[in-house]
Each structure stands twice: as structure tokens, then as C-alpha cells.
């Protein structure tokens, strides 16, 4: 349609048009990158742990003096926890999924092989599979006879069997579908220890909850670790019973002996919230920036279009007097805006890629997929259209009589 005259009018009064196009371009560049980061961070913070988080909590106790009868204490504690009404199972554990501190020990195919698969090492004298509600995809849980005691101050670690996560199974044996029965070596500080895989769990998120897929690398050892610190994982029968059970469990444990204090009593959902607070805060900030940018760019379009309409009232009146319909005037402004927005979008696509390159160089950030650019471009195009509707409507409402009035 009438693009050529619009274009030539635009080229004659270009400052405003350039400003709007520049604004659209910058907004597109920033919004596409920001939304990409938002999605990345939110996806990261929503990754499954393999644990039914709504019914699991952990309770940590710290000793105020050296405890001698650690093994007996751990047994009594777990029995006490299991006796609390509502508790399905409880287990001593050396670490908590997403808890931000724990053990990492490498696994390898051969002895003295330093090309290790690094993975989170879980140790428990109880069944983590049952307590955390993990899904066994192959093999079995540990047998009572497979458990060993380990006191770091007195001897070396010992174990014959391990349960690995599917991720670690794939890392160790990329080409095999079944790994139960396979032997691997665990690199302990005291040397390489041969262990046999007895089971594979679908998923168990490591305490470090890395950003990479290594978050699911890990294996469970049937080991009672005789350390001073105590962490118990507890599974409850239903989510709404959690607060009551947590309270009862805490009271029961603290009632057992007076030489320790409570360090933590939190649900795994709370652990997740703490772990991913920075990611969620970044996402929140970027969402705010995105909304702010769209509002400001939208208001810019409204402001500039209103100015043009005001400046061209007489011209519009003349056009109307010469027979232009309201629809034609509306179409004129919509087309004009579409041209400017489109020019801005083309520039913005380039800028978006440039900005992404800068960000990739400055911080660890993956390349921007084109879908984000395309999606953001579509949003901006629509925004421009919606923003110009008001002023264009007012332009269409200019009566033809304006033309005949004095300047």
C-alpha cells in the first residue's frame, strides 16, 4: 500500500523515527538476552533432585564436646526418629542434597588411574534409597551384611558394594545399558578401593547441585561414618504432617542427651530455596528489567506518535478533507510505526547477537538461541503496534474541518 510516501515523510523528519528505532533495537537486544538468562536460571533452580522433597526434611545436631559412643548414638537416634509418629523412615547421612557441603570422591575403571569420574560420595548406615524415596532402575538396595564402620581417626575406609546414579553409570560406562555387577575403583585418600556396583538409582542430586549435569553424579556407600557431626534425613508419610513431625523429631532427639545442640531442621524444599536463592534473585531482577524496558519503550512509542499526530493535525485534516477515510489515517500511522519498529528490530537482532557475544566473553553464558531473538522480536513488534493504536486512533478522529481553520 502507501509505504513509499510514508517512507519519504519519515526520511524527511528522521530524528524521532531514529530515536524510536534505536530504542526498539536496544530493548530487543537486552530483552532477548535477559529472558534467555531468566529461563536458564529458573530451569536450573527447578531441576529435579530425585527426592520427594515435599515429605523429606533433615535435622542436624552438633556436639558441644567430644562424643565417644558415636555408633551407639547414631543407632539410638535413628531408632528414635523412626518411632516418631508420621515418620516413614530415617537415615544418618554424611550430606544433604543441595546442602552446599559434602564429599566428593573420584571413581575410575582401573587402579592408579588418575582420569577420574568425580562424583558426590554418599555414606549411610541406613537405607538412603528408602528414606529419600529414590527410584531403583536396576539392581537392589544394600544388604545388611554389606555395611561397614569407618572412623577417620582410626582406620581407612572400606566397602565392597556401591549404588550409583544413572548419570554416574553413564559417565563410567557410556556404551552399556546394564552396569550391575561391574567393578570400579574408588580413589580414597588412603588409596584405590575396588567396589562392585549392586544397584542404579534414577537420580540423586549432589550436595553441590552444580549447574552442569554433574549435579546428578553420585554414588552411595554402605558405610557408617563415625564422625562427630550428625545429619539425619527423615521421610514423613504426608506433606501436611511435616511441621508437626519436624517438631516432634527435634524434641525427641534433643531429649536423648544434653551434649549437643540443634544446628538445622529444614525441609528439602527450604534447602532448595537457599541453594537457588541467587539464581532466583537474578531471574527476578532480569524480569523486572524486562518489564521496565517494555513499559519504557511502549511509552516512548506512545509519546513520539502523539507528538507526530499533534504536529500533523492540520495535514491530517487536509487529507480528511480531500477524502481520506478514518481507516486510511489509522492505517497511515500504523504502517509508519510498523516501518520504524521493523527497522529497529532488524538492528536489534544484530545488537542482540553482539551483546550476547560480549556477555559470553565477560561471564560464563551460553550462546543465545535464535528462538529467543525471534520471540522477543515478535513481542516488541506487537508492543509497538499496541502502543501506537491510541495516538493513531486520535489521529483518525481529527475532523476534516481542521484544515479550513486558521493556522
Amino acid at each position: 500500500m502507501e509505504i513509499r510516501p510514508i517512507l519519504s515523510a519519515l526520511l524527511r523528519s528522521r530524528t524521532g523515527a531514529i530515536l524510536i528505532a534505536a530504542q526498539v533495537a536496544l530493548t530487543l537486544a537486552i530483552v532477548s538476552n535477559a529472558l534467555f538468562v531468566v529461563n536458564d536460571r529458573l530451569a536450573l533452580s527447578a531441576r529435579p533432585s530425585g527426592v520427594d522433597e515435599s515429605v523429606v526434611f533433615h535435622i542436624d545436631l552438633s556436639p558441644t564436646r567430644d562424643i565417644d559412643d558415636v555408633a551407639a548414638m547414631q543407632r539410638l537416634d535413628v531408632d528414635t526418629l523412626r518411632a516418631v509418629p508420621g515418620v516413614v523412615d530415617a537415615a544418618w547421612s554424611n550430606q544433604v542434597p543441595m546442602g552446599m557441603s559434602g564429599w566428593g570422591l573420584g571413581l575410575s575403571h582401573k587402579e592408579e588411574d588418575e582420569s577420574l569420574v568425580l562424583a558426590a560420595a554418599w555414606a549411610s548406615p541406613d537405607s538412603l534409597v528408602n528414606t529419600l524415596g529414590l527410584t531403583l532402575v536396576e539392581g537392589r538396595d544394600f544388604l545388611p551384611s554389606e555395611y561397614h564402620e569407618f572412623d577417620m581417626r582410626r582406620g581407612a575406609m572400606h566397602a565392597e558394594s556401591i549404588i550409583v546414579t544413572r548419570r554416574t553409570a553413564t559417565q563410567l560406562f557410556p556404551d552399556e545399558t546394564s552396569v550391575v555387577g561391574r567393578s570400579v575403583f574408588m580413589r580414597t585418600p588412603a588409596g584405590f578401593l575396588p567396589v562392585s556396583i549392586v544397584g542404579v538409582v534414577e537420580r540423586l542430586k549432589s550436595p553441590f547441585a552444580q549447574a552442569s549435569d554433574n549435579a546428578w553424579s553420585g554414588y552411595i556407600l554402605p558405610i557408617r561414618f563415625l564422625g562427630q557431626g550428625t545429619t539425619y534425613l527423615v521421610r514423613v508419610d504426608r506433606p501436611d504432617a511435616m511441621p508437626a513431625v519436624q517438631r516432634d523429631a527435634e524434641a525427641a532427639l534433643l531429649g536423648l542427651r544434653r551434649d549437643r545442640v540443634l544446628a538445622n531442621n529444614r525441609t528439602l524444599s527450604q534447602v532448595r530455596d537457599v541453594r537457588y536463592a541467587p539464581q532466583r534473585s537474578v531471574a527476578g531482577m532480569l524480569i523486572a528489567v524486562t518489564i521496565g524496558l517494555l513499559l519504557i519503550t511502549g511509552s516512548g512509542v506512545v509519546g513520539m506518535a502523539s507528538l507526530w499526530v499533534a504536529q500533523r493535525r492540520k495535514q491530517i485534516g487536509t487529507r480528511r478533507a480531500l477524502g481520506a477515510t478514518r481507516a486510511a489515517i489509522l492505517r497511515y500511522f500504523l504502517t509508519e510505526n510498523a516501518l520504524i519498529t521493523s527497522a529497529g528490530i532488524v538492528l536489534g537482532l544484530i545488537l542482540g547477537i553482539v551483546l550476547n557475544n560480549v556477555l559470553v566473553g565477560q561471564i560464563e553464558m551460553p550462546r543465545l538461541p535464535l528462538t529467543y531473538l525471534a520471540g522477543s522480536a515478535a513481542v516488541l513488534w506487537l508492543l509497538g503496534l499496541v502502543a501506537v493504536l491510541g495516538p493513531a486512533w486520535r489521529a483518525a478522529a481529527v475532523p476534516p474541518a481542521v484544515a479550513t481553520r486558521a493556522a
Binding site: 538468562v37 588409596g191 534473585s281
Partner: protein
Amino acid sequence: MFAYYLRLGVSNLRRNPALTALMLLTLGVGVAASMATLTVLHVMSGDPIPHKSERLFSVVLDNGPDGERGPSQQQNLVPYRDVRELKDGAFGLRQTGLYGIAPAIDSGRDDLPPFFAAGSAVHRDFFAMFETPFAAGGAWTDEADRDGARVVVIERRVAERVFGSAAAAVGEDLVLGETPFQVTGVLDGWSPLPRFYRLSGQDPFGDSDDVFIPIAAAVDMQMDPSGSINCSAGGALEPGFDGLLRSECSWLNYWIETATVAEADALRDHLRAHVEEQRRSGRFPYQGEVVSARNVMQWLDFLQVVGSDVRLQTWLAFGFLLVCLVNIIGLLLAKFTARSSEIGVRRALGAPRIELFKQYLIEAGVVGFAGGALGLLLTVSALWLMASQSPNLEKVARMDGTMLGATLALSIGAALLAGLLPTWRASQVRPAAQLKSQ
């Protein structure tokens, strides 16, 4: 003339309230977003001890096996045996080993159950090196350092909690676990941001330490380190705490203060001499550069204390401000264009272009000032929001005088920059064309 233009600028703010509000809001939001993120970045990347950070070196010795080094294999701690040897070597002005401990404090009072404290085991030089402010008492003696005496320096809040006041604590015994430690000094709320001296295993912007005890005492009492233990260097780890002390596992920091900045090279030579000495007993198999001594800012950079997300936010916030500026250029252009006839009259009455340029630029500056005031308000709210959103931002999301001034300056500067084009256009208005038309 400045005062005259200022008065005109202020009264013109009222002229088109909707346009003015939009302009101030745009500027305020843009400035607030930039300043809030910049404040966090500024505090996070600040120098915690500016007057001597170039003379404080954190030492790391790479005791890993020979071979390629990837970024994940870089060590950032030192084994105990090297700390002991280096401390004996006593290079530089002062030196201290350092590791985190988490003892339970038992006040013995019925109304105060035992609680856990975060602390560091250090040498006595620690206090002079890092210039910790004392509210009462002081550091322990050299003898206490050597003998591993049961002495302790505590933070004011612990003193007040257990003994009632800082002064009352000095000379008293504080029971850590089951052992009484005599309080020699009370620190007066020492909380460097980031907590550069010990970054292993905790939030660099979290709470400061509650207690400090001599390393020799901590080792003697076999206090487990609360930070990380890195045993990737290989070698045997015998059971027990003694095994850890003899092992190649790294779990301590080692800091050296030199008398001058130039002494850094001599320090590295000294460390190389130590490594050569140790190689005789088969240690340090790695053939590449084993020794590193980083000053405070290099150390913070090496450990990437400022997360990349903070930088990302700052980048995007300034991009946001840029868009706000483009928007304001458009709005100012509209505002000034609407006043073409006034410009024509002023020109006719004898105003040179430069005077109109001044007048309109000052008007843009007034917009900047008002927008800055709004931006300041929004910045403070944004920081408050950030602090409440994420506890690890609580200490860094704080405004100081510099940032306050910077906010206003940024806003005025941004508005002046945005005002340049519209102002130039305004001063180019041809007076004759404006005087005829109504």
C-alpha cells in the same frame, strides 16, 4: 544567568505534568536499576584493606602431581607442613597461617545454652597484619603462639553475650568445647567485606568470625577444619588428625605482609627456595610454576569473589539506563519542540544561540536532578528489596556516601547527555519562522 535559567527550568517542570512525570520516572527507574546493581558490585569488588592490600600476600604452593593443569586443579590452600616451615622461615614483616574452626561455646550459664561459633585458628601476627580493631585487651603473646596456650580473642558480640561487656571479658575464661580459653582481647566489630582473609568454605559476604585462637592450640586439640580439605595432590593420608597434619592435603591459608610492595619478588624467591628445599624429600613433583603469592585484590580476583551474575546484572542495568536515555531524548525533544515560539521570541529579543543552549541544557539538568532524587529513593528501595530477597546480599546491598553522590551525578550527567541533542535542536530554531505563526 545560571540562577535565572535554573528558575526557568524548575518552573518549566510544572508546565506539562504528564510529560514531566514520564521523564522523571523513566530517568529515576533507569538510574535506580544501574545504581542498585553498581552499589552491590562496588561493595563486592571493593578493597577491604586499601592502604596495605598491595603488601599482603596469600601464598599457594602447588604440591600436585606433574602434568597438565586445568582450572579445576588450581589449589587455593596450603598443607599444614608448609605453614609450619614457612612460619619458621619468617619472611617479611609478619606472617600468619589460618584455618576455620567451629567450636561450641559453653558459657556455663544456665540461661545460655551452648552455641556454635565461627572462628579462625591464627598466628598472633594476624591481628597486626589485618589491623583488627580492639575494643579491649589485645593479641596474645609470642610465647602463647609458640606453646599453643589456651588463649582466645573474641568478637564484641560474643563478649557481650557471655560476659555482659567487652571490658568484662578480658582475663576471663571462655569454654570452647570443654576447654577453658583465657580471653586476651575483644575485637570491636571487625567485619571486612569481603572477608578476604579466609574465603574457603563460606560466603565471602557473610558474618565475620566470633573467636580467634592460636593455631598451635587448635592443632594440639585436634580441632577439625570447618572449611574444605583438598587432598587431590595425592600422597598417603594416614588416619587421624596427625595423619592430616603430615599429609599433602591442603586446608590452610598462609598470609605474608611485606614491608614494601617491591618485596613481592623477593618473597617469591623465598618461597621457591622453600620448594627447592622440600623437593629434596621428594615433594613438589610438578615441574611448572609451583609458587604463587597474590596480593589481596589479586586473591579476590583469583577466587572469583564477585560472581559473574553480579557483573551480568550490572551490564544489563546499564543497558536499561541507555534505553531510558534514548527515551528521554525523545521526550525532551517533544518538550522543547513545543516551545519553538518562545525560542523565537527570545532570539528576537537578543538571546544568542549559546544562551538558549545554556538555558535548555540547564533545564535538562534540572530534570536530571529531580530524576536523580527519585532515582535515589528507588535505589534505596531496590537495595532493600535485593537484601530481603537474598540473605547473601544483605551486607553488600548498602548505600554509602560515595554511591549517594554518584547516583545524583549519574542522573544529572545522563539527563545532560540526553539533553544535548534536543538542546542543540532548540538553539538552532530559526527565529523568523516562529514569530509570524500563532
